[in-house]
């Protein structure tokens, strides 16, 4: 068949290749323009592709690769000759119909922005609302379980076991019970303890658990200072702040993570936006807990101010740039102290603990330094 090669004109040194989509055989074909595109292999009946069904497929430059919507999905016609390619292109009116056009891109952008706006709205309004409504509805057993789990973790971080000195414990229980009664918390499973660590802090856990860290106890100079802080933590329990925070944090981090996907470096953006959003949320909760502490202390006829003097001794002046203020999860201590000074009243009730009880409470973790 070598004589056949001689008949091939110069322009077809670039052959037209057809793959029928069922086999990888490379078929050299000729094209005929009838009422449809006829693709003819040397031997065999022509394959007919209607011009309206022909679509462009991806190809390297210099090759026109075509597919047909009514043929086998992987059937491809490859035209390497520029003139022939131009002829075919001119006849196929819907060649590029399936490609992403400028309008298509605009549509993607539009929908993405819509999705983003909706997610942002949910983060700003929906999740806080859901957290506020759902937190009181979380069944007590579940809350207690979450509390038990975090208690185990917290104890593992802060020195293993709660301090056990019996006289100190009795004094501590007395203090907590007086506060609890004044706070109107009916949760009888409430537990409180002192953990042996030098960190000066206190916190509340779900399921009615309040912990004071020894560092705070060491810095406290009288029962009122400690009581105010405990009252603040009871405020968190009363307002279900733990469960609210849990629902809120879980919801926002999930939604913001979803929003940013895997744009490189997104974790920094996620972190930044989360801390701004969450900080404002938890600041509200802290202010509410402060209000609660003021009420409880007044009910007991004691001033709430000493607690915040203790806090100020620990943190010092916090006010700095506006940026840190936006990011802070607590109101600034000096602002809180100023508020408490306004609420300061001379003591009208009996002291919360006797001097002796206070002394034994101070020694609840033993007298050794940490």
């Amino acid at each position: 068949m070598s004589d056949v090669f001689a008949e091939v004109p110069a322009q077809s040194t670039k052959p037209t290749i057809f793959f029928d989509g069922t086999s990888s055989r490379r078929r050299q074909v000729t094209l005929t323009f009838g009422d449809a595109l006829e693709i003819t292999e040397a031997s065999g009946a022509p394959v007919r592709w209607a011009y309206a069904d022909i679509r462009r497929a991806d190809s390297p430059s210099g090759i026109l690769r075509l597919a047909c919507t009514t043929a086998a999905p992987l059937a491809r016609l490859e035209i390497r000759d520029a003139v022939l390619a131009a002829d075919v292109t001119a006849r196929c009116m819907r060649l590029d119909e399936h490609r992403t056009s400028r309008r298509g891109v605009a549509k993607i952008v539009g929908w993405s922005v819509a999705a983003t706006v909706s997610i942002v709205c949910v983060v700003l309004f929906g999740v806080p609302l859901a957290a506020d409504r759902l937190a009181p509805l979380v069944p007590k057993p579940i809350e207690r379980r979450i509390g038990d789990a975090s208690e185990v973790q917290v104890k593992a971080i802060f020195g293993g076991k709660a301090c056990e000195d019996s006289a100190g414990k009795a004094a501590f229980t007395k203090l907590v019970n007086r506060l609890r009664d004044a706070a109107g918390l009916d949760d009888d499973s409430m537990t409180a303890g002192v953990l042996p660590t030098a960190v000066p802090n206190a916190f509340a856990l779900p399921g009615g658990k309040v912990y004071v860290l020894r560092g705070l106890l060491d810095k406290a100079q009288n029962p009122d200072e400690l009581a105010g802080i405990l009252a603040h933590e009871l405020g968190h329990l009363k307002h279900y702040d733990n469960m609210r925070g849990l629902i809120y944090n879980g919801g926002t981090s999930f939604l913001i993570g979803l929003l940013f996907g895997d744009v490189t470096g997104s974790s920094a953006v996620i972190f930044a936006s989360r801390s701004v959003v969450e900080a404002s949320y938890s600041r509200e909760a802290e202010t509410a807990a402060d209000t609660f502490a003021i009420e409880v202390m007044h009910k007991l006829g004691r001033s709430p101010k000493p607690a915040f003097e203790l806090m100020y001794r620990i943190t010092g002046k916090e006010g700095g740039s506006k940026l840190t203020t936006i990011l802070a999860s607590h109101p600034l201590t000096e602002d809180r102290l100023a508020r408490m000074t306004k609420e300061d009243r001379p003591a009208s009730g009996p002291p919360l603990l006797t001097d002796k009880e206070w002394q034994s409470l101070k020694l609840i973790c033993g007298s050794g330094k940490i």
Binding site: F19, S23, S24, R26, T30, F33, I108, T116, R145, K322
Partner: protein
Amino acid sequence: MNDMQWTPIGSEPIPPPLPPTRVDFSGNRSEFRKMVTKGAMLELVTFGFYRFWLVTDIRRHLWANTAIDGDAAEYTGRAKELLVGFLFALAILVPIYLAYFLVGIEFERWQGFASTPLFLGFYAFGQFAIFRARRYRLTRTVWRGVRFWMDGSGWAYSFRAMAWGLLVLLTLGLALPWREAALERYKMQHSHYGDLRGDFEGDGWTFFKRAWWLWLLSPIALLIFPLAPFFYAEFKAREWRWWLDGIRIGGVSLSSNLPHDAFYGLYWKVIGWWMLLSMAFSVYMGGGALLLVQLSGVPADQVFGGDNAAKSIPMVVMMVVGYFALALAINIVMRVYLQRDLWAKVLETVEVHNIAAAADVRGSGELASALGEGFADGLDVAGF
């Protein structure tokens, strides 16, 4: 039209073994760069949702410009499939995350931090995702009108990956070559091109012999930081070459003469760009702050430590804009060097032997869903 009469290949007498064919990559670099730049900007505007379209465009570009034996491949996957896969994966992952949270609580109640092993479950899931993502990509790869496809089970693969992973952990990384060989064998033996079945002939021992000294020297790289990119580049080049040498599809085999120092330049260029961009970012921030001080007439310590929100807002806005520009530029650099240039560099060293075995392959295999890609996206795992 002229009557072009050509002899179909099938009717010729069987030719003697041909010399190996090369793989040609004809992609235009500036075209790729423009595509990636535009894509990165759209990614920012769409808060990342454009990633499905950009990833698809990148693959289409790379596939379409890769020609084996004169015929270019084609990527038939579409961005919408990835988006749908991602949404489905999300719908499955959300309850799993919730269950993980609840089970975690029960574990923690029992003992502090006891739920850490649950993390392993996510690792296993990640391995499953890697297998299924590869299946998706392979079934969207078409050459000469016939697609590649994959069978096998993602969970069986995940189990193997976990078991081998444990061994690698116990041997402090020494078993890594055997793990890679075993996993790649599983993947390749379940890969097909039409009715040709793939295989992987690379063995762990060969890889070990090529790279054991890197394992030995790796503590040095941790001490002398500038050496780390050299070590990593060295390791990656050896790994790529070993991987390519082992690939078989039917009677077709690959080989590569990728030099051991092939990636030095690429990694250092990325690091160089990264440093340059960070420097530009600091200059921009410094200059901006200075300009702000000049214009507002406020002393510098008040701009930074300011008690007045109105004065630090321009600073914050500037920082955010600069940060996004930096992220965008690094994004582009990574894609151009570590995807496009690496692809081109590897391909130019590849030789294909006995390509005639793929001259008349019957097409078969079903399309796989993009769910695996969705999982990989949702779990943030990368793998090939």
